[in-house]
Amino acid sequence: MRLSEHKYKTTSKIAGQLLYVENVHAARIGEVVKVIGPHDIVLEGEILEIVKGNILIQLFGETRGLNAENMEIVFSDTIRQVPLSRDILGRRFNGSFEPLDGLPMFYASKWRPARGYPINPVARLRPQEFIETGISAIDGLNTLVKGQKLPIFSCAGMPAKELVAQILQNARLRESSKGFAVIFVALGLTFHEYSFYLEALQNIESEFAAIINMADDPVMERLMAPRFALTVAEYLAFDHDMDILVLITDMTNYCDALREISNARKELPGRRGYPGYMYSDLASLYERAGRIKDSQGSITMIPVITMPEDDITHPIPDLTGYITEGQIVLSRELHQQGIFPPIDVLPSLSRLMQKGIGAGRTRDDHRDLANQLYKNYAKGRELKKLEAIVGREGMSEGDRLLLDFATQFENEFVHQEGLARSIYQTLDKGLEILEKFNLAPDALLKQKAEA
């Protein structure tokens, strides 16, 4: 600890969000600094790099109007901490974690570093409690469980936000013992999207807190906002045993911000200009979801990603898919057919589904039913390609049946305008369609008869 604040006026360079200071005697990595510029500009920053007495500082907020000669940098000797309290719920903050709702800052009962600490793998509790989203394509075939991170891979112009709104509306996490809350993180959103989400949040009965970085807000804050949100989520989940759903949209904006800052720091660009450490950086966010053994709470994460050029191999969805426990993929084709939600179940996946379904969790025929639906739909989709070549008439009767099944599956199972289905309705619907096409195996029918 240093005994007093110390100040410098030795700015050597300002470039975008980056500030270089010379002849500094004491500094630590991640230390918070205050920059006082002309015309009462006050900005916060964080130390990124120390090379002998030369310090590189990353600034938050608007740097326009700064002047190298007329500036004072105050070193605080502390690293960035997040104030925490249960009073965060019901509030809205900006990307620097300052209140946006006109109310004063809450009284913090705890402070924790925004970067967080990695969960010890032995302290993790395996996620296995089913969450009902009310959406058949998810509940039935790509089941979400408490503590999972399941992203939505969308494309420009697709109704990802409507899908998210529906999940928020229906997600039956509300039965949790110590309460349920949503932490909403907006990253680089346009006003139009933002107001849509805000309305959706206000329509749900649960409590929520929002951290908002709009499209025209500083890029640097886009990198900090999710870290503030997750520190808050960890506090509510693991100190207060709450079930927290963290909704982050849009991670594509986050990654672009990461690229922008990395480029300004003159770092070596990787694939498509994104920095080589993007995998680790994304993991430092996504891996904060989960459950731990010494708490009742959980953090479930739904990040939304807009795939550039509809390309699932683009670095953003690619690296995300390698970290998250599955993905919900939206399809432009289904969207054009008027199907909502346009979830393509074939590339979608929930890695934690196996433990979250079956007797005692959903229903004992869930696994068989899901496999049967999936298998036949996959065949039907394959045949659609063939149909385009040989025409329907050129196909065998069995193939025609599968084709019709695939169409009906899309129109009746995947498609569900506005109405939430309970897991039982979802499973019954699936069985009904299978039965209609004589595709239900005897074992399933027997189970049904017994029930």
Partner: protein
């Protein structure tokens, strides 16, 4: 450990720290800062030394102390490793959890092994015997496992006294006449391969219980298989299934830069599942080295060296060891991050130019050896690779293809149609198949090789016919070709696909043979029918 020399931090950039300290040696272990973070010397320069810090560097300040240890980063080897989960620097994660709670904070731990625990030691040598590196001087009962105690590779002499019975690792088990004392454990620098008498060509297979691997693309003991696949192709499930069922003595599982939840899943399952050979929980033959994606990147780089040193140690005790690493790409990315923070000239896709040589020297640590004491031990490796965008032309896959013996290519198309394991049978290969043909002929069936060739032939024909069938439909095919399509479909769903969640997760070579024979018989009979021949004897 000689008393280290100390200096001060002059620069910090990410996890790369510069110090004014000189006189350190390359790859020497250092303690950095007020919290004694673990680091390693990576470069010596005229004006100071460059260090790589293995823990979260935030809060590290200018002028904080740096202390050299006089020794390089080592792995501690001895009784008490089995069923423990370590981080990349071999710190036991359950001890860390007991000290810092559910979240990992930088902390210094004295030893990787429990030095206070009581063991029972049975000596095998007597006073006056001459011993040298690798010689077994006795064993310690580690539950059901008999853990041989060996003389460290760099020591030798005549035994002056031996201990016996209840003992802890703090007490010497044996004193030599030159005054040196031998303990139940020793340390070995993780980046240095452990010595052996000689390397032997691989002979027997590692039975994985996966039909497509054992039958079509087998792995030899002492060999290396790589499993590249895009996300969702089931790399981790496949590695874990093999870890459960492979017929080896010891499994080292390195979770390198992957998901935390997968690790809690793995521990849970390995504690429940019973090893059919020893009748004790699978965990008792397993050592886990885990550095999840959100744990410090530099320690991720070190984690596979910790894992391979552990593997070599058990090999030196005369065991058959399987090292599974998931995933090598995350290790390579860690290497890239470190290289880039050292401002080295980048090679292909930003990876350092020494990526391929580091990988090949790592893979070369696998093999069957005659140990220093004359036993036979083996270390086999199965390494998963996560190519960006599922594109196999990237540098990590390509570098590994040159050094490994088997390539199990995971196919996104197969995974999307829920065919698991999603190993592509057209493009995968194993260079061990000829070496192992004899083994299978002798131990399973003399028809093994014939049926393997026939099976591949059917699958190849199917591939060629598929396009035609898409146009003309199955009814448009000739009878002979229709037979190929029907049998191939059966082989695909009834033989190549295997459900990891049912009893089918493990299939013995004999059962593998029986299943494929039932399909090929059907094929041969059908062929005879179509040719109008009388049914002749089938294979």
């Amino acid at each position: 450990m000689k008393p280290g020399i100390s200096g001060k931090i002059t620069s910090i950039s990410g996890a790369t720290v510069r110090t004014d300290l000189s006189g350190l040696t390359l790859f020497e272990r250092v303690s950095v800062g007020l919290h004694n973070l673990t680091g390693e010397v990576v470069r010596l320069e005229k004006e100071g030394t460059v260090l790589q810090v293995y823990e979260d560097p935030s809060g590290l300040g200018l002028d904080e102390p740096v202390q050299g240890h006089g020794a390089s980063l080592t792995t501690t080897l001895g009784p008490g490793l089995l069923s423990v989960m370590f981080d990349g620097l071999q710190r036991p994660l359950d001890i860390l959890a007991a000290k810092t709670g559910s979240f990992i904070h930088p902390i210094h731990l004295e030893s990787s092994l429990d030095l206070k625990k009581q063991w029972s030691f049975t000596p095998l040598v007597n006073k006056g015997d001459t011993v040298s590196g690798g010689v077994k001087i006795g064993y310690i009962d580690e539950g059901a496992f008999q853990h041989p105690i060996i003389i460290p590779p760099d020591k030798k002499g005549r035994v002056e006294s031996m201990a016996q019975g209840a003992i802890t690792l703090e007490e010497p088990l044996c004193s030599l006449e030159d005054g040196s004392r031998i303990f139940g454990y020793h340390s070995w620098p993780m980046r240095v391969p452990r010595p052996y008498r000689k390397k032997i060509n691989p002979q027997g297979p590692v039975i994985t219980g996966q039909r497509i691997i054992d039958f079509l693309f087998p792995l030899a003991r002492g060999g290396t298989s790589i499993i590249p696949g895009g996300f969702g192709t089931g790399k981790t499930i496949l590695e874990q299934t093999i870890a459960k069922h492979a017929d080896v003595d010891i499994v080292i599982y390195a979770g390198c830069g992957e998901r935390g939840n997968e690790m809690s899943e793995l521990i849970e399952e390995f504690l429940e599942l019973v090893d059919p050979r020893s009748k004790s929980p699978l965990m008792d033959r397993t050592v886990l080295v885990v550095n999840t994606s959100n744990m410090p990147v530099a320690a991720r780089e070190a984690s596979i060296y910790t894992a391979v040193t552990l593997g070599e140690y058990y090999r030196d005790l005369g065991f058959h060891v399987l090292l599974l690493a998931d995933s090598i790409s995350r290790w390579a990315e860690a290497l890239r991050e470190i290289s880039s923070s050292l401002e080295e000239m980048p090679g292909e896709e930003g990876y350092p130019t020494y990526l391929a040589s580091r990988l090949s020297s790592f893979v070369e640590r696998a093999g069957v050896v005659e140990t220093l004491s004359g036993d036979i031990g083996s270390l086999s490796m199965i390494l998963s690779v996560s190519p960006p965008g599922g594109d196999f032309t990237e540098p990590v896959t390509q570098a590994l293809l040159r050094t490994s013996g088997a390539f199990l290519m995971l196919d996104t198309g197969l995974a999307n149609s829920r065919h698991f394991p999603a190993i592509n049978w057209m493009q995968s290969y194993s260079l061990y198949q000829n070496t192992l043909a004899d083994y299978f002929a002798k131990n399973v069936s003399r028809d093994w090789e014939v049926l393997r060739i026939l099976c591949r032939e059917i699958m190849h024909k199917e591939e060629a016919l598929k396009e035609i069938m898409e146009i003309v439909g199955i009814d448009g095919l000739q009878e002979e070709d229709r037979l190929v399509m029907t049998v191939a479909e059966k082989i695909r769903s009834g033989f190549l696909a295997q459900n990891a969640y049912t009893a089918d997760a493990f299939c013995s070579p004999q059962k593998t043979m029986d299943i494929i024979r039932s399909f090929t018989d059907q094929f041969l009979k059908g062929q005879d029918r179509t040719k109008g021949k009388p049914e002749n004897e089938t294979l």
